[in-house]
């Protein structure tokens, strides 16, 4: 960044203001992380924040593969899980040998665990991209997950490996018993990892990873071996996933086979994709949303996975760029000053869309209760619906059918308003 101001015509040429805003965003993020537990100080919310922090590191590491290098992995949790197991074993070893290594350094060992396995299997895995890579990643994921139940001495079988984070040497007098201290430990590693992963995108390797994503064939003709690029990216992704796993091991004081499995791999893919792979902050949004939903939905509905599926399909179909893509789409309009012309049509379209969503929820919950033999009332926005009453079925049908028809009409209007606004933005030179 030091040479930015002397540049002839580099990307950082018009940079003074941009730089300020850039560091401002990061600083704001750090401040939010510091202040958050002071505002929401209950034990439950501290645990939630900790889980979200871990999920963010994990999702960002996944995006090194998916968004940056174009590698769709179905087995990324392997590195997360092995990071967790490594962290647990190292913590137990520190306690039994009395080594002077305090807890805050443990995630680094988790990272090394994730990295070690990536170095080992990555070369073979990244020989090819595309479907071949996806299939091998699935295979390796299943292989390691099933090995974890067989190799009991290493993985502890069904029970997993437990540890006691408070038994490690203290640092700054912190025992890391209270959740608030664990939260700050996670927040610290989140900031360090996020900065490191962002910095990685700005290096020669990071940019060539993008080139490999876009066109691996062409990369060979500008001097690069795409296999090496993919391998290095894979190692970095494994390292940061291992850090996330190490943080999880600290938070839960256990590592078990669930850490490494297909569900965990699916969740991180899910979070990253929903958040948006094209922007660095996309996976952050995705990890926050998915973790929050996971924690929130499980307590209100028994079929929460179904809702996950619907959200995922919705995003894939209507906003392949994820939430980040949706947000960034509005940027040129905002700059051109034509965004306000779209907002009224949004407000109109939201009403039937919410009605449609409510109808769908009623249908799902009614069916779920019938098949589950349950009769508890469906509580939607404070209104109780009796799942056995025909009135509920009629309400659901009206909401679904009416909502769908009206939503279609109103979203068409949004599209038209959008086109007009985009034309304005194009005329003013904010949109290519």
């Amino acid at each position: 960044m030091t040479t930015a101001t002397t540049s002839v015509s580099g990307p950082a040429a018009n940079a003074a203001g941009e730089n300020l805003r850039f560091y401002g965003v990061w600083l704001a993020g750090v401040i939010v992380l510091i202040v958050l537990p002071l505002v929401f100080s209950s034990g439950g919310s501290l645990t939630s924040f900790s889980l979200i922090g871990i999920a963010i590191v994990f999702a960002l590491s996944y995006n090194i593969l998916l968004g940056q290098t174009g590698l769709l992995s179905f087995g990324h949790a392997v590195h997360y899980g092995l990071g967790g197991f490594t962290a647990c074993h190292v913590m137990n070893a520190i306690v039994s040998h009395g080594w002077p290594i305090p807890l805050p350094f443990i995630p680094l060992f988790g990272g090394l665990g994730g990295l070690g396995f990536a170095i080992l299997v990555g070369w073979l895995m990244t020989k090819r991209a595309g479907t071949v890579f996806a299939m091998i990643s699935l295979g390796i994921g299943e292989l390691v997950a099933s090995s974890s139940l067989i190799l009991r001495s290493v993985f502890g079988g069904e029970a997993g490996i437990t540890t006691d984070r408070t038994a490690l040497p203290r640092m700054f007098g912190w025992t890391f018993g209270p959740q608030i201290q664990v939260y700050y430990l996670i927040a610290f590693w989140l900031v360090v990892s996020a900065i490191a992963m962002y910095a990685l995108t700005r290096t020669p390797l990071g940019r060539i990873s993008n080139a490999v994503r876009d066109n691996p064939e062409r990369v060979q003709f500008i001097g690069y071996d795409p296999h090496v690029v993919r391998y290095l990216a894979y190692c970095f992704a494994g390292f940061f996933a291992g850090i996330a796993g190490g943080l999880a091991a600290i938070s839960f004081e256990i590592a078990n086979s669930a850490y490494l499995g297909a569900i965990q791999s699916g969740l991180v893919l899910f979070a990253t994709f929903i958040g948006g792979t094209a922007y660095f902050f996309g996976p952050i949004l995705g990890a926050i949303l998915v973790t929050y939903l996971q924690l929130g939905l499980t307590s209100v509905t028994s079929v929460w996975q179904l809702y996950f599926g619907i959200i995922f399909i919705g995003i894939v179909m209507f906003s392949p760029g994820g939430i980040a893509g949706l947000v960034m789409m509005h940027r040129p309009l905002l700059r051109a000053g034509s965004l306000w012309t779209v907002i009224p049509s949004y407000l109109v379209a939201i009403v039937p869309t919410v009605a449609l969503a409510c109808g769908v929820i009623l249908v799902i919950e009614t069916i779920a209760r019938h098949s589950g033999g349950e009769a508890s009332a469906i509580n939607l926005f404070g209104i109780a619906f009796n799942p056995k009453s025909p009135a509920t079925w009629i309400a659901a049908a009206v909401l679904v059918a009416g909502g769908f028809v009206i939503a279609r009409l109103t979203w068409r209007r949004v599209g038209e308003a959008w086109d007009r606004a985009a034309t304005v933005a194009r005329d003013r030179g904010y949109l290519a």
């Binding site: 040479t3 540049s7 015509s9 020669p204 990071g206 994503r213 066109n215 064939e217 003709f221 290095l232």
Partner: protein, 249 residues
């Protein structure tokens, strides 16, 4: 002086089908050499064989005296041979600036570095800026390459090809699909940018070929039937029969 490119008795078969038979070609350093021939003669295959995109079944290819047949494309590129593609082949989601910069990174020695900020490498920045000037795309630097017009993408393609400072530049139909004005622009661009380098070009447009090339080779059914100066090629009866004659009708 050793030839920039020396192709000796190269054959390429796909299964039982011989696409290239007994290909011999010698291109001197600093020469502008055009390869012409009817559709399906194997011009692009010849390019792919020389640049390492596909491996010859037999025979050898030398670059500045060293055998390069059998090497990977990136190894050949690192030895100073760069090529473009007939179908535009850029990094679609990256900006014009990033496209050219990617092609500069290896040559400036930054390779797989993950400890350097790519934006603060002065020599990379200067070289990228100079190439953007050269290909007249400075005003489009922040546009994703996939959103450029066709002619602009072709110019970017040339920019990426020469960015690494290769001594041998191979262009596969650089003016294909261009209008007359765009073609003229592209030719003067190619002439200027390949000054002092060896140029190998495949081209269908005969005005481009005869205006640009020092020497021409005519490829018919995977075999070079004639090689010489534009004047010699124009007079060659075999060529007139096999190729130019057909064109004239």
């Amino acid at each position: 002086m050793t030839a920039a490119i020396e192709v000796r008795a190269v054959e390429k078969r796909f299964g039982n089908v011989g696409i290239i038979r007994d290909l011999n070609l010698s291109i001197a350093q600093g020469e502008r050499h055009a390869i012409i021939g009817p559709n399906g003669a194997g011009k692009s295959t010849t390019f792919n064989l020389i640049s390492g995109h596909i491996k010859p079944t037999s025979g050898e290819v030398r670059l500045n005296g060293d055998v390069i047949s059998g090497l990977q494309p990136f190894e050949i590129n690192r030895r100073g041979l760069s090529r473009s593609f007939q179908v535009t082949n850029v990094f679609a989601r990256m900006t014009v600036w990033e496209n050219v910069r990617s092609a500069v990174l290896w040559a400036t020695g930054h390779r797989y570095a993950f400890w350097k900020n790519v934006d603060s490498l002065p020599e990379v920045r200067e070289r990228t800026a100079r190439i953007l000037e050269d290909i007249h795309l400075t005003h489009r630097r922040d546009v994703p390459a996939g959103l450029l017009t066709y002619a602009e993408q072709r110019e970017l393609e040339i920019g990426i090809t020469i960015a690494g400072g290769a001594t041998v530049v191979m262009l596969d139909e650089p003016t294909a699909g261009m209008s007359h004005a765009e073609t003229e622009r592209a030719v003067s661009l190619i002439r200027r940018l390949t000054e002092g380098r060896t140029l190998v070009i495949v081209e269908h447009d005969m005005s481009v070929v005869f205006g640009l090339a020092d020497r021409i080779s005519v490829l018919v059914y995977g075999h070079i039937i004639a090689s010489g100066t534009p004047e010699e090629i124009r007079r060659d009866p075999k060529v007139r029969e096999a190729y130019l004659g057909e064109e004239a009708h």
